[in-house]
């Protein structure tokens, strides 16, 4: 164990003293923040968020109603009366931006349509929101028909169909909906956090592979192994790169949290973050790391250079990333059979399980337990196998191991 820690300490120290590692350490979060920042700036520039100017030529005296509607639904319109003639509109709009002319007259009753002239760049989304004005015009029509107040009220109350699924019954009060929202955040924030950790340590885990094959290439393995056992060397690497993964996470946090707080406007991040769910998410992330680290260290020991990797090794390196192919289907239905099966497959379960737990309101603890149990057993098994491959592979100089040889070592 002491030797394991020595090796781990060395790997951490060696990498932290290495310029390219340090640059990579800071570059990734900086790039992410920079792109996030740029995205925000550009996002703020889209015309959807701007208010549109609508000139109303009102012959039916509904302007007050229109203004009330805008107020009630908080529509992004600015209304103004105008006496312009329809014939002049075209000329006016040619040079205008975000402007529309709305003619309200008897055509509403005679033809059932009202002309709404817009400038070229007038946002599509606003054009559709304008439909809401029909209510105000309809009101005028009904008043003209001489209906009583009660009749008016009855006719003008719109009927909407509200979709309620079984799990939402009994919790549809507004307060509960807010709590629902909060619960979602309580899962998303720790989930995203655990995801960042998982990704960071997987990427750092890729470096284990580098480290093992480099050691083989530089032929230093034999010297190290004259002092420590192969098992200690392998464990030392796994622990060392685990620590490096957390260093990466720490840097992410140092850059990410101020940025999120700035971008999300006082999101109570820490309240959402430090919830019991976080522990489960972290457990999944750590198990995922251990599984992939075992695979990387074992495979790394079978070849001296990634560029000489055979098809077999190349495929194995891809294993941790297989999960990402399934993110789409799982996102569209987190309770599907596919999603459940992927949570039981050790190679995909860390990412998929984490993702599903964030998506789902109701957790099936049976499913989670089975999934974790499979994962823990796989970690144990793969560590054993990696140890066997590592022991032989790291000393096999000059050639890459064939799948047949690897199979033989595993059975030894």
């Amino acid at each position: 164990m002491r030797n394991t820690m020595k090796v781990a300490k060395w790997e951490v120290k060696r990498n932290l003293k290495n310029k390219s590692f340090v640059i990579g350490l800071f570059l990734t979060p900086i790039l992410m923040v920079v792109f996030g920042f740029l995205g925000n700036l550009m996002g703020g520039d889209t015309s959807d968020n701007e208010t549109a100017k609508i000139y109303v030529h009102d012959e039916l005296n509904t302007f007050a109603n229109l203004e009330a509607t805008v107020e009630q639904y908080k529509l992004p319109f600015e209304l103004e009366r105008t006496n312009i003639q329809e014939a002049d509109v075209e000329k006016k709009l040619k040079n205008a931006e975000n402007t529309a002319y709305f003619f309200i007259d008897n055509r509403a009753f005679n033809e059932g349509t009202l002309p709404f002239y817009t400038s070229e760049d007038f946002p599509e989304s606003i054009s559709s929101q304008v439909q809401i004005f029909t209510e105000a015009v309809k009101l005028v029509q009904m008043q003209n028909l001489g209906l009583t107040e009660d009749q008016l009220a009855a006719v003008s109350t719109p009927i909407t169909i509200q979709a309620l699924s079984v799990d939402e019954l009994g919790e549809n009060s507004e307060k509960e909906q807010a709590m629902d929202q909060e619960q979602l955040m309580q899962r998303i924030v720790p989930g995203v956090f655990a995801g960042v950790i998982l990704l960071s340590i997987i990427f750092t885990g890729m470096m284990i592979f580098q480290s093992a094959s480099q050691e083989k290439k530089d032929k230093i393995a034999e010297i190290i192994l004259s002092s420590v056992t192969p098992g200690e060397l392998m464990q030392g690497k796994i622990v060392g790169y685990f620590v490096l993964g957390f260093v990466q996470v720490a840097v992410f946090i140092a850059f990410g949290i101020p940025f999120i707080l700035w971008a999300m406007n006082d999101l109570p991040l820490f309240e959402y973050l430090f919830v019991p769910e976080l522990l489960l998410f972290l457990l999944i992330a750590v198990l995922g790391y251990l599984l992939f680290a075992a695979i990387f260290v074992g495979i790394g020991a079978t070849m001296s250079d990634i560029s000489t990797a055979g098809n077999f090794q190349g495929l194995v390196i891809m294993i941790p990333f297989v999960s990402f192919f399934f993110i789409g289907p799982v996102a569209s239905d987190p309770t599907s059979i596919l999603a459940q099966v992927l949570s039981y497959v050790p190679f995909t379960s860390p990412v998929i399980l984490l993702f599903r737990l964030v998506m789902l309101d109701q957790w099936s603890w049976v499913e989670i337990s089975v999934s974790l149990a499979i994962l823990i057993m796989s970690v144990w098994l793969f560590m054993k196998l990696a140890g066997k491959i590592f022991k032989v592979g790291i000393l096999l100089y000059g050639k890459n191991a064939t799948p047949g040889e690897i199979w033989k070592w595993m059975r030894a």
């Binding site: 020595k6 060395w10 530089d218 034999e222 010297i223 192994l225």
Partner: protein, 313 residues
């Protein structure tokens, strides 16, 4: 001299091929023991088994005074050279000493002393990749002796070094032996072995060929040979007594002589009419024995055994 390491009946197979057959030898404190053999003979495999990097199929490796392999008391310079590339010299020396549980402060002092000794003063903060091959090799040698090992295993320590560095290294190795370290040295350079080693173990195709002190080996295998330059009839040469084997090339002939001849007496038996432009009388060198073994001719040894047979007859 006390025996530090005993290897008894070592057997090892890779796949279906047996690479070590019943290898047995001792290494004693204060001696330099050579392990010789052509490439692929099984030297490195033997060493790896001693180091516990591989495990033998059969046989026993005993470190006297220890229950298991005393990794911290062994220094090892493998044949395959290499150290981490992008780290500083001093960092790697201290790391390797730390793995041997050697105190860091002492390790640093010794590291600086040795760097100075090997003409690497001021290089301690230079990265390994910036050193020349020879320099890196010297650093690697330092790393193998920094922790004051009781047993030092050197696999081809001189390859790639200039003569000056070779001398420095030889001197240091002799020093360590004088101070009581047991040294197991593998080398192809027979002159070095003849010069430095007390005993030797020669291995070919995983089998012991020769084992003994340098003097014994020389006495036993290094018979006299006589090289004559001058054109002579082969028939005439074949009549010269006490000759085991004749090698004739153009106008030069090498006569390999029986073990128990007296050179002065034998010289008198040469025919009077023999053409001799030049005559050299010397012993068969270790180098020749090695070549003989390595090329699988086994002429010297076969003849030797034959010679022994003759004696008994």
């Amino acid at each position: 001299m006390d025996v530090l390491l005993s290897v008894e009946g070592l057997e090892k197979s890779f796949k279906d091929k047996k690479v070590l057959h019943n290898i047995s030898f001792d290494v004693r404190k204060g001696e330099i023991m050579a392990i010789l053999g052509p490439n692929g003979a099984g030297k490195s495999t033997t060493i790896r088994n001693i180091m516990g990097i591989m495990y033998p199929d059969e046989g026993k490796i005993t470190f006297h005074g220890y229950n298991e392999i005393p990794r911290n008391k062994i220094g090892y310079l493998p044949e395959e050279r290499g150290l981490y590339k992008n780290v500083k010299v001093i960092d790697i020396l201290l790391y390797l000493a730390d793995l041997k549980d050697y105190p860091q402060k002492k390790a640093k002092e010794r590291a600086l002393t040795y760097l100075k000794k090997f003409d690497l003063e001021g290089k301690e903060h230079v990265k390994m990749e910036e050193l020349s091959k020879g320099m890196a090799q010297k650093v690697q040698f330092i790393s193998s002796i920094l922790h004051e090992p009781e047993l030092l295993i050197l696999d081809e320590p001189f390859s790639g070094l200039d003569p000056l560095s070779q001398e420095l290294l030889k001197e240091e190795i002799r020093n360590l032996a004088r101070n009581g370290a047991a040294i197991l040295l593998s080398s192809h350079q027979m002159n070095v072995v003849e010069e430095m080693c007390d005993r030797l173990f020669m291995i070919q195709q995983g089998q012991k060929v020769i084992y003994g002190t340098l003097d014994d080996v020389k006495m036993k295998y290094a018979n006299f040979k006589c090289t004559i330059r001058g054109k002579n009839d082969l028939e005439k040469i074949e009549q010269i007594p006490d000759v085991q084997r004749i090698e004739s090339k153009e106008d030069s002939t090498v006569l390999y002589l029986h073990k128990d001849i007296t050179p002065a007496k034998w010289l008198k038996k040469l025919p009077d009419d023999m053409v001799i432009n030049e005559l050299v009388m010397d012993r068969i060198s270790l180098h020749e024995i090695f070549i003989d073994v390595a090329t699988n001719k086994n002429l010297l040894l076969a003849n030797e055994q034959m010679g022994e047979g003759d004696e008994h007859a």
